[in-house]
């Protein structure tokens, strides 16, 4: 599209995005592209704002969680991560970052979403609510760390995992969205980082920023306590 065409489509109908076209004869892709790009700009700005707010609101809790995780790692603790759907992939990326970081020290982390044999066996034989809790009861020891992600804060299998983690005596770090959901009031999650948004996508983006900051602070503390 020419710059001139782009300008003319931007000038036209700035509120057009409010009224999705139902006209199958619509043919001006330039107008749609301008609308899409404008929507993307607003979402990018919102994502940045949600992240900034979450990092600010959770600063003290990240500080406390990083201190507890640092102590755990120094005592030989391991980090278990878990979540569902997109949060499962985010959990996997948290484990990758701790276990195989681009810089800093490698730390032991296991993603409970990785083992398809165990997950499907438990889901098939018992139910999906136990797929993380049963793994924690099998693998985790007092002093390890459980980190779970749920945008709603209400995923049953994540909540069951935290209940198990609390029983076993793990350091518990939870990430939730909206108002924190059941995770925030369960009493099983010591460090509950809540992203105050009602968009699953913006929540996940801010959760990624929070766990990234958590990783950075854990590395910094380990360097201070145990310089190499």
């Amino acid at each position: 599209m020419s710059d001139r065409a782009r300008e003319s489509t931007r000038a036209a109908e700035p509120t057009g995005f409010l009224y999705p076209f139902i006209d199958a004869e619509e043919r001006d892709a330039g107008s749609l592209l301008a609308e899409l790009a404008g929507s993307a700009r607003r979402k990018i700005a919102e994502s940045q704002a949600v992240r900034r707010d979450a990092l600010r609101a959770c600063a003290a809790m990240i500080d406390a969680a990083a201190t507890a995780m640092c102590s755990s790692f120094l005592a030989g603790g391991r980090l278990f991560t878990f979540g569902n759907g997109g949060s499962a992939t985010d959990a996997r990326l948290v484990t990758s970052r701790f276990l195989d970081p681009p810089s800093g020290r490698a730390l032991p982390s296991i993603c409970l979403d990785d083992d398809r044999a165990v997950i499907t066996a438990l889901a098939n034989d018992v139910g999906f609510d136990v797929v993380f809790a049963r793994q924690l009861r099998a693998h985790a020891r007092r002093g390890d760390i459980a980190l779970g992600l749920s945008t709603s804060g209400g995923s049953a299998n994540v909540l069951e995992a935290f209940a198990a983690a609390h029983d076993i005596g793990l350091t518990t770090v939870g990430l939730a969205g909206y108002d924190g959901g059941s995770m925030a009031v369960s009493g099983h999650v010591e460090h509950c980082l809540v992203v105050r948004s009602d968009s699953v996508h913006r929540i996940q983006e801010a959760q990624d920023a929070l766990v990234s900051e958590l990783w950075t602070q854990v590395q910094r503390r380990l360097d201070q306590v145990d310089p190499r």
Binding site: I22, A29, I44, A45, T89, P102, H201, E205, S212
Partner: protein
């Protein structure tokens, strides 16, 4: 990403927005025509899985589900070659250092695929993919920046791709490309460069079966050094005129 601290509308955010918008229109049109989206992320397979689940199981009730599948093959070239069909789309997520990305993207056109590269690092030439969605800023590991403006964010970019692709489906008249749009940037019969094709089989001393633009054809290979399956060649008027390095643009 290098965002301005006070707003999301600086130059880099604008580039990202424009790139995602264009890729979303292409992707929506491909889905409307029956395409599958193949998701490849050699460095962080979880990103490929995350893209796929966005499309297959949308978080917003009432939005459409689309076929999107992570490619788990150790060699993404070998995997996508047998998985994808002409008209499909492949999205590759990764840095310029990732092995496997360039050989895959180099072949996508020959296989009849549309390609999207969501990447970071030194910006490659535009010819590497039909759509480059490029994140500026220091290379980072995995998702999300710790501090806004300090690192890349693949997750935001593919969330936007999903959100905008859904928006395109609210515009049914635009889900098919206009017929008067040029089919390609160069004339395929008189272009100096010729068309890129991948050798499937050498059939005799003089001929090979190749895939070009997703179509199989027999070409004359007497003008070039001996080729073997998987090699890339430039084809002009039914004749291979050069063997191409699959890792170069």
């Amino acid at each position: 990403m290098t965002f301005a601290a006070s707003n999301g509308t600086d130059v880099v955010a604008g580039d990202l927005a424009d790139a995602v918008a264009a890729a979303s229109l292409t992707l929506a049109r491909a889905f409307a025509a029956g395409a599958t989206l193949w998701c490849v992320a050699p460095e962080w397979p979880a990103h490929a899985e995350h893209v796929a689940v966005e499309f297959v199981h949308p978080v917003i009730v009432g939005t459409r589900a689309f076929p999107a599948i992570p490619v788990g093959a150790a060699d993404p070239v070998a995997g996508v070659r047998v998985l994808a069909r002409p008209g499909d789309v492949v999205i590759v997520i990764g840095t310029t250092r990732a092995t496997g990305i360039r050989p895959l993207l180099r072949r996508a056109g020959a296989w009849g695929l549309t390609s999207i590269w969501l990447g970071t690092g030194p910006r490659p030439e535009a010819a590497w993919a039909d759509h480059l969605i490029w994140l500026q800023g220091p290379d980072a590991h995995g998702p999300g920046p710790g501090v806004p403006g300090e690192a890349v964010d693949f997750v935001l970019a593919y969330h936007l791709l999903w959100e905008l692709t859904q928006v395109v489906f609210e515009h049914p008249g635009l889900l098919t490309a206009p017929v008067d749009e040029p089919a390609g940037e160069v004339c395929i019969t008189c272009s100096d460069e010729g068309r890129l094709a991948e050798v499937e089989a050498v059939t005799d001393d003089a001929h090979a079966d190749v895939l070009a633009g997703g179509r199989r054809e027999s070409i004359d290979v007497r003008l070039v050094d001996p080729v073997e399956p998987g090699d890339l060649v430039l084809v002009h008027a039914g004749v291979a005129i050069a063997v191409v390095d699959g890792a170069e643009p």
